[in-house]
């Protein structure tokens, strides 16, 4: 390997562990289900982060996020800022009194290239607060068509229940997650 002059970090030793960011679980797609669920989430952390690298079986869809198996009751809301320069430019959308939080909200998911997201949920175990989530997600397919976007989303779940499970779903669209899809849940103390 030829490198231009610079500093090379090899011999990667002497690692430091911060000890406040913990991997709780990883769930991998099966190719036959469009519902990825983390259950029995411990209430011992301050915040949760979920990191997603996923490919659904159908393109041009969104992903739904729901908590504690609550699929009805109109307790969710979300706002979304999204950019796709060759299709809709920049757009801002959202929904209130919904039954899910949506990300990749403009129906931009690719069924070929990885769709990625970082989701942060603060005070998820607090029983006196509603729950707020922040989503940073994106997909790029090296074209100027519908399957590229960079998105920022805020989400609300109007419940004071501690979050003990969460589901990421594309099954409402009849889609499944490929076996190369990974969803990893982290706890932050």
């Amino acid at each position: 390997m030829s490198l231009t002059p610079g500093i090379i970090a090899s011999s990667l030793t002497g690692h430091l562990v911060t000890n406040n960011f913990f991997k709780i679980a990883t769930v991998t797609g099966t190719g036959s289900s469009g519902n990825i669920t983390f259950s029995s989430i411990p209430n011992t952390y301050k915040s949760l982060q979920i990191r997603i690298n996923a490919i659904p079986s159908i393109a041009n869809i969104t992903t739904w996020l729901q908590f504690n198996g609550v699929y009805s009751g109109n307790t969710y809301a979300f706002h979304n800022l999204s950019a796709n320069p060759n299709n809709y430019g920049i757009t801002a959308t959202g929904a209130g009194n919904a039954n899910w939080m949506a990300f990749f909200e403009q129906g931009v998911m690719s069924n070929v290239y990885p769709n990625t997201a970082i989701i942060d949920i603060i005070d998820y175990a607090n029983t006196s607060k509603y729950k707020t989530a922040k989503v940073f997600c994106g997909v790029n397919d090296n074209t100027t068509n519908a399957n590229e976007a960079i998105e920022l989303t805020s989400g609300l779940w109007e419940s004071t229940a501690a979050i003990s499970s969460m589901s990421f779903r594309v099954d409402p669209y009849g889609a499944t997650f490929s076996t190369s899809s990974t969803f990893t849940l982290y706890g932050i103390s």
Binding site: M1, S2, L3, T4, P5, G6, I7, I8, A9, S10, S11, L12, H15, L16, V17, T18, N19, N20, F21, F22, K23, I24, T26, P42, R51, I52, N53, I55, L81, S82, A83, N84, P85, N86, G89, I90, Y113, P114, N115, T116, A117, I118, F136, C137, G138, V139, N140, D141, N142, T143, T144, E148, A149, I150, L152, S180, T182, T184, Y186, G187
Partner: protein
Amino acid sequence: MATATYVPIATQTLSTAASSITFSSIPSTYTDLRIVIVGTTSSSSVNLNIQFNGETGASATTYSFTSITGNGSAAASHNATNTWSWVPTWVTGLQTSIPTFYTIDIFSYAGSTYKTGLMTTSTDINGSGSVERSVGLYRNTSSITSLSFTQTGSVTYSAGTTATLWGI
């Protein structure tokens, strides 16, 4: 039992100017990588170019990216296809004296699928600047074992530029 992660694999602080910053021999034992860079360059408004696995120069066409940006008065979006690097800063770019703050998250870097990354850029130069969010695609199914932040021509990263590679 939960496992502690988010590990600083390596940190570099340039003691002298350099045309590139490279992390090599990246272990494959993590799920994702995160790089945080705070830096300046020898010229203003230049790109941070991100390349993988020893690719250098402008010959590759396996990269692409999409971004949204705000510069204090307007928002805009951009994309580029078949490029030779990821470029998380479309508008303002690196500066000679005021640091620009980048984060780059690379997902499933050791997997056998194409690689997608999420990037942020924060630049404020007291009167101008930008905030940007970007997504990049690297159309290669090989594990990422090294990554480089490169420049073109005679541009260099200035002494004091710091880069930290994290494993998550």
